[in-house]
């Protein structure tokens, strides 16, 4: 296993929200997607994905439904709720601001 980059506290939540923003996804697919899109830089501890998913569900930002998977098995699909979409926007704005600020600092000093 390649050494995983530790995710910043709280960023996992944002990544999950972003991953299910377009269409409902199940847990495995979310993990795969984040990994692929980030070119395997972001490794999600698969075990820790589910507590996070459940936490977001309890917060009402995503909702879960049983559905059939691509290979026709029963899987749990997560999709964004209205509150979740709002939360995602706020978090992305915050992230952009923070990342921008850090970039500026790194370049100027």
């Amino acid at each position: 296993m390649p050494p995983s980059t530790d995710l910043l506290q709280g960023t996992l939540d944002m990544l999950i929200l972003r991953a299910v923003a377009h269409e409902p996804q199940h847990g495995w697919a979310i993990a795969q997607r984040i990994q692929q899109v980030s070119n395997n830089i972001l490794q999600i501890g698969q075990g820790s994905l589910y507590p996070a998913l459940h936490r977001l569900e309890y917060k009402g930002w995503i909702k879960a439904e049983w559905g059939a998977s691509e290979n026709n098995r029963k899987a749990r699909y997560y999709s964004l709720t209205k509150a979740g979409r709002k939360q995602l926007e706020t978090e992305m704005e915050n992230w952009a601001r923070l990342a921008g600020a850090i970039n500026v600092v790194l370049q100027e000093i």
């Binding site: 993990a31 795969q32 749990r76």
Partner: protein, 909 residues
């Protein structure tokens, strides 16, 4: 935010199912295996890689659960369930701990509630801190009507004229109130009964700040001139219990046959400015002559009968008030002295110069009974403190023994992956449960025991107790809190191991010495428990012995089959001259009843702590200078000595030929005669009289044997009996009836006979002589009762505590005992080994306790009667009790140890 809460709520109601989570996690892993196979891995390797990539599955599942809303609550309930299960697993031990806590909490709350009422609590009036109690030092002359007091040499009773002067001329007090108490006959709707009346000044309620519940209370207009204020205020409890809260304002209540108009009812909870008084009705001081028809005090400068307290003016300290009022008091005393009979310089010094007005804090109110109650209450409180100490040691040792027994359980759980936090949480929960259960049980029993104790102290008298059955909540909360904290702390003690860096080693060893130094701790526990319980058992023995001594004291006459009751015709409105006549009628009527052997009467009841005495002069005898001879001077009926059975030594007793108009005669006891003449018979024929009262002159015609009079404790007093119908004043009587019958049957016929003469006559306090004596020694009996209860509790606690500790330590020594037996020790010697250790320890504890016990008994010697503070019998029996308890507690663990099969014991661990 709102939607988040709503969502949490939804999930709190409908939980995610455990298998749903499992299914979801399983899907993930299966999907990963498929993906791995798809990239060409062999199935076995695909499965392995998928599992590794996923990480600890149990942990993930646990974390999913922890993410759940309401997880903390769920966790709490889980710990609680665990705690309950833990306690139930060792139910006997938990029950003993809970009971011990409850006993400690209950006893402390009950006794301290009484103690704080008598000694600490302030009066239920406005700003009690501003109140001061007045007393004075210096000589008095004339008649003092004293209820008792806190300090010797201090007079708490003032004359009415003195009070009026102090009230009207002082500038230091915003108000000065006065009161006195007595028993009166009250007639309400044709029903007469004896009630307590408090005579109060007009400003009484106003100065105290007591408001009426109904109608109005007295004001200064209700205290004008002697006999001019026939108005009454009722006590709230009396109004509620005796008058059924009837509308009373403006209606009349007859007090000693005189109509008083009821103007109001005092506020609930208020009794008196004097703690311990329980008045039913309040009347103005100016009505004294009606309330106490025998006396006329209102204009008398030399009758001291009212207690006085005042409210300090704002901004004035007690010292300033004392300075300014003492100038006034000095002037008043000088004026009083001018009218005194004795004008010698010595008298002046005592009466005027040495006289001083004193101020004491009045927040708790003056109380004549506080002093009597103080020592008994302190003694009992001391016993309670010991019981509490025992309870603490007991619970602590039980919990620690229990914890030590569970080392194995904890190490297994720890090995199974429970965190230290989880185990500590479980212990905490168990400790809290114990504490809570103990407090709850204590709370359940405390008010009941308080009520029972007060009812028991009232005895059969039916009088209102000075104590109210209200629990002191602060004390309850404090004790329960302390016990709760204690049980939590001692429950947590085993958790200390989990902070031990060598934890693993400690748990691996699992053997005896996990709790370092616990052997010394256990020994200390055993010694303390034996010491404390010896102390309490010893106390119980001594106080019970006191009661036995008091009960078996021979007063000089038989106290069985003797009924007594109070008859005061003046309470029914009889005028002075007719009192003796109706009393004689009652005596005659009772003597004619079937089943009555004899009947007699006295104005000075026997053996109930009363005395009526004074100085006397005997014809033909010149007193030595400074001779101070006081004698008991009861007025009796001509059947009195025969009824009690006082034996005649010389001369004759009174007989029916001694009437109101015949020669005035007297009978004296032996002590009286011996004081005047070397040969007692020589006193016969001499004249007796009170100094300066020629009407009391009587010829001494008989000498009787000494009998106890005031109380069983007090020594015999010189006594001179004269006839009530030959006296110069009317008086209420205590009538004694010697019967053949059972007391109840006789009581009914006596009531009927008195009613037959006049239905207004009140038969008060009708009870047997033995009951009256019991009531008189109530303080001693209460101490003895509680001491016995506490002694039993202590012995029981000690037994249980010792058993627990021994059971544990012998279990720890299983291997050692097994080796001994394998080497040929017999069962008997193993039992002996264990018992011997126990008894050596007990012996050391006893030896250490005895000197302390002697000192403690010395401190409470005033409460003992004919019991030496080093009473060998009491010590021997207490030590025996402790030895028996120790052996009983030791024998079961010892026998179990002796029953060990050596081969199995050696194979253990």
């Amino acid at each position: 935010m709102f939607s988040e809460w709503l969502s949490r709520l939804r999930f709190a109601v409908s939980r995610k199912q455990r298998n749903e989570v499992d299914e979801e996690l399983q899907f993930h892993i299966d999907r990963q295996i498929e993906a791995n196979i798809a990239v060409g891995m062999p199935p076995e390797e695909a499965r392995r890689q998928a599992t590794i990539a996923f990480g600890a599955r149990e942990r993930a599942r646990e974390q999913c659960r922890e993410a759940r809303p309401g997880w903390t609550v769920e966790l709490f309930f889980r710990d609680l369930r665990f705690g309950v299960r833990g306690l139930f697993r060792n139910l006997g031990l938990a029950a003993v701990a809970v009971l011990t806590l409850a006993v400690a909490i209950g006893a402390n709350s009950t006794i301290f509630s009484l103690l704080s009422q008598a000694l600490l609590r302030t009066l239920p009036v406005r700003d009690p801190q501003q109140l001061v109690v007045l007393d004075f030092t210096g000589a008095t002359d004339g008649h003092t009507h004293s209820e008792g007091g806190d300090r010797p040499g201090h007079h708490y009773e003032f004359s009415y004229p003195m009070y009026r002067d102090l009230r009207e001329k002082n500038q230091a007090l915003s108000g000065l109130l006065a009161s006195a108490t007595t028993t009166v006959g009250a007639t309400w709707q044709n029903r007469s009964e004896a009630v307590h009346a408090e005579m109060v000044s007009g400003n009484y309620f106003d100065v105290l700040g007591v408001v009426p519940a109904v109608g109005r209370v007295f004001d200064i207009q209700d205290e004008t001139l002697p006999g001019a204020n026939p108005v009454a205020v009722l006590n709230f409890d009396y109004w509620r219990t005796h008058l059924a809260e009837a509308p009373v304002i403006g209606r009349a209540i007859a007090i000693n046959g005189v109509q008083f108009t009821i103007i109001g009812v005092a506020s609930p909870g208020f009794r008196s400015a004097v703690w311990g008084r329980t008045p039913d009705v309040y009347v103005p001081l100016t009505m004294q002559k009606v309330v106490e028809p025998d006396w006329d005090y209102l204009t008398d400068h030399h009758a001291y009968w009212i207690t006085v307290s005042g409210r300090l003016r704002a901004g004035i300290s007690p010292e300033q008030a004392s300075a300014s009022m003492n100038r006034l008091f000095f002037d008043l005393r000088r004026q009083e002295y001018a009218s005194a009979k004795d004008q010698s310089a010595n008298t002046r010094k005592h009466f005027v110069d040495a006289s001083r007005l004193n101020f004491a804090s009045g927040a708790r109110g003056f109380s004549p009974v506080r002093d009597d109650l103080k020592t008994p209450l302190m003694v009992i409180m001391g016993m309670v403190v010991l019981v509490i100490a025992m309870a603490v040691v007991n619970v602590a040792s039980l919990l620690l023994v229990r914890a030590a027994n569970r080392v194995r359980e904890f190490s297994i759980r720890y090995a199974m992956g429970a965190t230290a936090g989880q185990i500590v949480r479980q212990l905490l929960c168990e400790g809290m449960l114990l504490g809570l259960a103990g407090s709850a049980l204590g709370l359940a029993i405390a008010p009941q025991t308080l009520r029972m104790l007060i009812r028991w102290m009232q005895g059969r008298s039916g009088d209102v107790s000075e104590f109210t059955p209200t629990l002191d909540w602060r004390v309850f909360a404090f004790t329960a809190g302390a016990m709760f904290a204690g049980s939590v702390i001692f429950s947590l003690a085993p958790a200390i191991q989990f902070w031990n860096p060598r934890l693993a080693d400690a748990l691996k060893q699992q053997a005896a010495n996990v709790l370092g130094g616990s052997l010394r701790f256990r020994r200390t526990c055993v010694a303390l428990q034996i010491g404390f319980s010896l102390f309490l058992v010893l106390g119980a023995g001594m106080f019970v012995h006191t009661i036995q001594n008091l009960r078996s004291t021979d007063p000089g006459f038989a106290t069985d089959h003797l009924l007594g009751f109070q008859l005061v015709p003046e309470l029914a409105g009889y005028p002075g001259p007719k009192v003796a006549l109706v009393e004689q009628q009652v005596l005659d009527a009772i003597s004619g009843l079937p089943g009555v052997r004899q009947v007699g009467a006295t104005n000075d009841a026997d053996l109930i702590g009363n005395g009526r005495g004074g100085d006397v002069s005997i014809s033909g005898y010149t007193p030595k200078p400074d001779e101070n001879f006081d004698a008991e001077l009861p007025w009796v009926s001509n059947g009195y000595l025969q009824t009690l059975g006082v034996p005649l030594l010389a001369g004759r007793l009174f007989s029916s030929s001694d009437t109101a108009t015949s020669l005035h005669v007297a009978v004296v006891n032996e002590s009286f005669a011996r004081h005047f003449f070397a040969k007692p018979q020589d006193i016969l024929g001499h004249h007796f009289a009170r100094p300066d009262r020629p009407s009391t002159d009587a010829v001494i015609v008989g000498i009787v044997r000494d009998v106890k009079h005031t109380s069983l404790r007090d020594p015999v007093q010189p006594t001179c009996y004269t006839l009530f119908n030959q006296s110069d004043r009317p008086s209420g009587l205590m009538i004694y009836v010697r019967t053949w019958q059972s007391p109840d049957a006789a009581a009914n016929s006596i009531r009927a006979a008195v009613k037959g003469i006049d239905s207004k006559l009140i038969v008060d306090d009708l009870s047997t002589m033995t009951d009256q004596i019991d009531q008189n020694i109530m303080a001693e009996r209460t101490i003895a009762l509680l001491a016995t209860v506490f002694g039993l509790v202590a012995a029981l606690l000690a037994g249980i505590g010792l058993y627990g500790i021994l059971a544990y330590s012998t279990a720890q020594r299983t291997r050692e005992i097994g080796i001994r037996m394998a080497l040929g020790a017999r069962r008997g010697s193993v039992v002996g080994l264990i018992l011997r250790e126990m008894l050596v320890l007990a012996g050391i504890a006893v030896a250490a306790t005895i000197p302390i016990a002697v000192m403690a008994t010395w401190a409470v010697r005033s409460q003992l009667y004919q019991v030496s503070i080093a009473d060998p019998a009491a010590y021997a029996s207490a030590i025996c009790v402790i030895a028996v308890v120790a052996v009983l507690a030791g024998i079961f663990p010892a026998r179990r140890a002796a029953g060990i099969d050596p081969s199995r014991a050696l194979r253990m661990d």
